[in-house]
Symmetry: C2
Subunit: 784 residues, 2 copies
């Protein structure tokens, strides 16, 4: 077979690669003398050497080869980099193809611009050492490892024209998230979705160790990747000329195979899951870098991971670095003004075809708002507060079904969840769209579809990773999850929140759809599963992030949930966490009242209050189950102490509790005091860990009077009411809390306490004997 | 080939399986009439039906077959169940072999005992529906999915005689943690470690969906499992007689193969990584259960997942359940007193050979305390506070090296970390033991060893899962991790903390070694990696768990770290989180002072205080970097306002801040007030998110005066000092905070503020120009 690259093209591509490598090394090392016009001196070298060389030459090699493919076939291609600490490589390539200067005009394509390019890297007030939001063409932070492939699939969904090249580091490949991400190919439809081209970069080493996949032999690795459903193509070597030809030929074959798969599916109606091609690129870590430093091997070892030559007190190191940099022949690549050779410039694609300028990598540019049905139409009708019960998430399911329907044509909305859409009672969506499934189907299966827009897989990592990739490329979605197990993606949430926070400071990054969580099957209703399924702490985790990003909602009933969900789906650049139960629960507000309540974020519930502006106690609540208990406590109190003046405050937007200085949703002090008074006892029934409320309110005037009940890490397989009893969140306890804290009722303390213990005793005996809760004990008719 | 089971044995094993299935169904459904002595009536059925049937018959089938193997070969075997929501099966088997009654004498092996067994399941004040700490023989909660295989490997390490049978659910197999756990075989040494026998239970369905691995075809699945390094044996079918013979024959072959591998390695010195056998068991979900309910297929579908017949308002359902239960022929299995047939009893192993009574599954029974060197011997010598710098974790590394050494013979200590032991500067341990590695080795590798006791793999999930398995079987360990990325295992930590909490209430569960985390490469020193690597929130997460479990330490220097580490390695049943930096940092306390300080948990640092019992301000600090900044602020203040009276309080054990009522380490109010006063401003420099301190101290007298600085989610690749500036934790800000809060210094406010801004400006300009921090600006000589 003839070589795919002509000698001329080979020479030029190799030169382009050298240029990218030169610029990468320059970023890591130099603060001056960018073109090596004079012999390298110590003062040209940065005082702090921070960066990762090891993975960079591989990333650069792939870049120039993908560029050839893009140019030749006019491809729409993105580049996602798992080993994204190879940041200098991506910056270098963006600079070479001009997009860097377009985004950052100060970094001119000139000698001075190159010096600024070098100096800004890993420099205070400069740019980070990893691929980051600042890097043109990126949607994937090169920090925490494991999420590249899931992001790539998320980006490819509903983008039939797109090819997402995704470099998977062999270190990253050891993570759990990445190990399961390979299976994403069972959820990608070649008709409707784009292609993902995984490239496993087998450079052999992590920070200090060999990688597992590099040391299991080619046979076993091939089996593994075929077992994952791919056809692996191996490109291996350490002679650039050979590897260039091999890689080019392989890419040609692979592109043809991708085209063939898509044609079969799109033109000829093939419905079998295809075996997608992928590449295993085995090249030396730190390729083209120093082979030895201080007589220890560096190229091709873990020693090449970060900065191969670090200590410049040793005089020979300066020489070593200079030799290394000159080995790329910069004078042959750039003219005296730092301008790249014209014939090399011509190798790169232009405009939006540049991977560093692909609009999908700045998803806000492509964002179309969702078409949303009027959520009022899905409202639960009440004759009064507590007159009916409803399953909140089931009500939401009807709304989401029509959201799905209204956006079917625009193909920009998906629902994600780990095998729980139906369990979470959102199954109405299946009337409109099934669950995406490209694997084998049997007769008993229901709701599966190759065209499904509901993404179910038993991996929170995949749900989160796919959704992030989908959002970052300009689409919309919602992730519904068991509340306890959303902690599985705590760390992924961190990275996305950090990404959003930084994007907000970058003018060219356009707003994207918010990351919406619906946490249901929550802590209070794990009747079936018990203690292991009880953890309301994700909202604590979220509240630690920047207030311009984090939003937390605890709608007390179905109508509030509708209002909140509509708001979240319209929002941009947030992480919205909605916590709402799926079990039949009492309903409180009609839809208009719900909208008003959700708009305020918190409010006095007049129907349950009788304080006339001067309460003895404020019964506050946040969350559906705590709201029921708080209202039941109010009923008990009214019966027991008829002249008590009670104010009921419900909080739906948790962030209103924070001072305005801390969160844009925060009530000002006057607003807060109007709800919670400045001096009356507040009994706060809370969905989550009690300390959360203290953390939000500690600066408020009346904070010392706020007494919070919530989840205190007690639970097992038991009845719903026993769960609140175990955690002292039950109506009896809340009522007692109120009595004990109202000074003028001190005479009642002993009797009320006795009555409380008696109630608890009756409850314990009853459920022990009957295995179920006492029948409902509250009559919800409210009188003024 | 002749059938491995004689007709008689086959009949008996099948009967045993029927007995286990009968008891499982009984637990899910019945509160009375346990032996079906009378026709089933509605009142025999529990009011709330909670449990998971689908996976249970498969678990029971494997149990009776493993029992045969154990008996026949006198095996030491444990049973770890990934699909542990199949709790009734494990309880049933423990009951059948007598260990359940030994642990819980009220659950007699009689008709009444059986009724209690049935009734307690998923019943308030009874037992949970999943495998849980209450289940004899278990070390693995059947709640959150994904960790079974990592636990199994952790249990097998250093137990050469043990075989750990590990059932992996095909739902669970989709999780990230499980997907990477297969690679654990590259870290198991057949000479020194036991065997893990993975059994992939391919029952085809999750809650509502088919599973991926059941729908990729046998060829692809085989490739995948071979790619993971196993030799899969398929046992498939839905005819019990056939499957019994197949499974028995396969287990015989597999045991021979395990023995062969071990012999080759142990007797003949084979050093190649062996290809371990495993089983793929493909049987119908909910096998032997109802085939149809309401004309919908159940057996072999996702509808069998939980309670196949749920609604007993339909009269035919009662009949269906009765037919189902009678299909097991209970009268043939149990006598009128509920006693199992003698020939069936004889099938089970006895004593510690029963999987439900294997001592490894109650690790505390086997626990040997670590032999610990005297940590004083590793102390940093100081001529005074701030006289030297040291890298705390490097100092700890020397101590850990000798901990490793002192326990080499007992083989009960390992160190775990994701590729970061050296990066975290603990590499002294390599002088004593290498990194476990059974995959291929190349010349450039260092510190790898087939006998290594340092476990490095780029997966926090594996580190955590292995360590949990190792601890739960009675050994000791420490997990060192980058602080930010420990969030990857937030959810695993949850499950372990819950496990420990429940175990504390079970008398027969003996105390086990604590789960020790060393979080380093922390938020303040991510010079190299920047924003993505900055998150100090794991301690917030841990603080939400029960106070009898959670311990958090922030040693300010190397000597305190030594004292804390020694304490943690001696402790039992805790989760200890230690946060300590690896960079050269000033040292404050000699070893005796460090021990005193760590024993108190918090204290006044006299050398830096001049308050004579009556401070103008308390400068508090927790964490190494905040301590440096707080002390530098004290120096600045003394210079600027010579007559200021400052008290310095350092907190090493964060839990002392909580009220004693909330945490056993909590200071009583008097003790707290003696440190923090009741009315003086407290400027608190904190390692983590500031709200953590408020959450811990909101009930304290002086809380409204506590002003906390900590990480506020600002960061990038920048200098160490710039990081504290970005987050307002720097010395200038702390000094200004103090001045602004001391009433008698109000006259200085304007000048001090100006001076602050001037300092910050100088800093910004300097680092922008030089790319590095200003030279050290504090002279640490303290005067009384």
């Amino acid at each position: 077979m003839p070589d795919p690259l002509s000698p001329d093209l080979l020479e030029k591509m190799h030169a382009y690669w050298r240029a990218a490598n030169y610029l990468s090394v320059g970023q890591i090392y130099l603060q001056d003398n960018p073109l090596l016009e004079t012999p390298l001196r110590l003062e040209h070298i940065k005082p702090r050497l921070l960066g990762h060389w090891g993975t960079t030459p591989g990333l650069n090699l792939l870049y120039v080869h993908l560029n050839r493919l893009i140019k030749q076939h006019d491809l729409n291609m993105m580049y996602i980099i798992g080993p994204g600490h190879g940041g200098p490589g991506l910056v270098a390539n963006s600079y070479l193809e001009g997009s860097y200067t377009e985004r950052y005009p100060a970094i001119e394509r000139s000698r001075n611009g190159m010096q600024r390019l070098f100096r800004q890297f890993s420099w205070p007030h400069g740019i980070p050492s990893h691929v980051s939001p600042e890097t043109p063409g990126s949607i994937h932070e090169g920090g925490e490892l494991g999420y590249s492939l899931a992001h790539a699939y998320g980006a490819a969904f509903d983008n039939p024209d797109l090819i997402v090249a995704c470099i998977v580091g062999d270190g990253e490949a050891e993570t759990g998230a990445l190990a399961t991400s390979w299976h994403s190919n069972k959820f990608l439809n070649p008709v409707r979705d784009g292609a993902v081209l995984p490239i496993l970069h087998l450079n052999g080493f992590k920070i200090a160790n060999p990688t597992v996949l590099a040391r299991i032999g080619r046979v076993e690795l091939t089996e593994l990747l075929r077992g994952y459903g791919y056809e692996p193509y191996f490109v291996e070597g350490d002679d650039p000329a050979v590897v260039h030809q091999l890689l080019a030929g392989t890419l040609d074959r692979i592109l043809a195979q991708i085209r063939h798969i898509q044609e079969e599916a799109r033109q000829h109606g093939a419905t079998e899951r295809p075996r997608w091609p992928m590449i295993v690129l085995r090249t030396p870590k730190g390729w083209t870098g120093p082979k030895f430093v201080d007589n220890l091997p560096v190229e091709g070892t873990w020693r090449a991971h970060q900065v191969p030559i670090a200590d410049f007190k040793a005089p020979e190191h300066l020489k070593l670095l200079e030799d290394w940099m000159r080995s790329y022949q910069p004078q042959d690549l750039f003219d005296g003004n730092g301008k790249l050779r014209d014939d090399l410039v011509a190798l790169a694609p232009t405009g939006h075809r540049r991977m560093s300028a692909n609009p999908h990598a700045n998803g806000g540019e492509l964002l179309q708002p969702l078409s949303l049905p009027d959520f009022h139409d899905y409202a639960v009708t009440l004759s009064g507060p507590g007159s009916v019960r409803a399953e909140s998430t089931r009500v939401l399911g009807h709304y989401l079904r029509d959201v799905m329907k209204a956006n079917l044509d625009s193909q920009n909305f998906r629902l994600f969840g780990p095998d729980e859409t139906a369990s979470n009672r959102l199954e109405a969506v299946f009337e409109v769209s099934g669950k995406e499934w490209m694997a084998e189907v049997e007769d008993v299966d229901i709701n599966l579809s190759q065209d499904g827009r509901v993404m179910e897989v038993l991996s929170e990592h995949l749900c989160q990773g796919w959704l992030e990739g989908y959002l970052l490329t300009g689409r919309h979605g919602l992730f519904s999850c068991y509340e306890a197990f959303i902690h599985i993606i705590d760390s992924m949430f961190n990275q996305h929140a950090k990404w959003l926070k930084v994007c907000a400071t970058i003018p060219w990054r356009k707003p994207i759809g918010s990351l919406n969580y619906l946490l249901t099957s929550h802590v209070w209703r794990q009747d079936h599963n018990g203690f292991s399924h009880q953890d309301p702490g994700f909202i604590d985790h979220v509240a630690n992030k920047k207030s311009d990003i984090a939003r937390i909602y605890l709608p007390p009933d179905a109508n509030c949930l509708l209002s909140v969900a509509d708001h979240c789906l319209r929002s941009r650049n947030y992480v919205n966490v909605i916590v709402a139960g799926k079990q039949p629960e009492w309903q409180w507000l009609d839809i208009d009242a719900a909208v008003r309540h959700c708009t305020s974020g918190a409010g006095i519930w007049r129907f349950a209050s009788n304080d006339d502006g001067d309460p003895d106690v404020v019964m506050a609540c946040a969350g559906d189950v705590p709201t029921v208990e708080a209202l039941a406590a109010v009923k008990l109190l009214r019966e027991y102490v008829p002249d008590i003046r009670i104010r009921v405050v419900n909080v739906v937007d948790l962030m209103v509790l924070q001072p305005r200085s801390e969160h844009p949703h925060g009530l000002d002090d006057r607003g807060f005091d109007e709800l919670f008074t400045t001096d009356k006892p507040v009994i706060f029934a809370f969905h989550g860990y009690p300390s959360m409320i203290h953390k939000l309110t500690y600066r408020r005037h009346n904070h010392h009077n706020i007494h919070v009940r919530g989840y205190k890490e007690e639970g097992t397989t038991t009845t719903p009411f026993d769960m609140v009893v175990l955690n002292d969140l039950d109506r009896y306890r809340l009522a007692l809390d109120a009595i004990l804290r109202i000074p003028r009722l001190s005479g009642l303390a002993a009797a009320a306490t006795a009555r409380y213990w008696d109630s608890i005793q009756r409850h314990k005996l009853y459920i022990g004997e009957h295995g179920d809760d006492l029948p409902e004990i509250v009559d919800w008719r409210w009188t003024a």
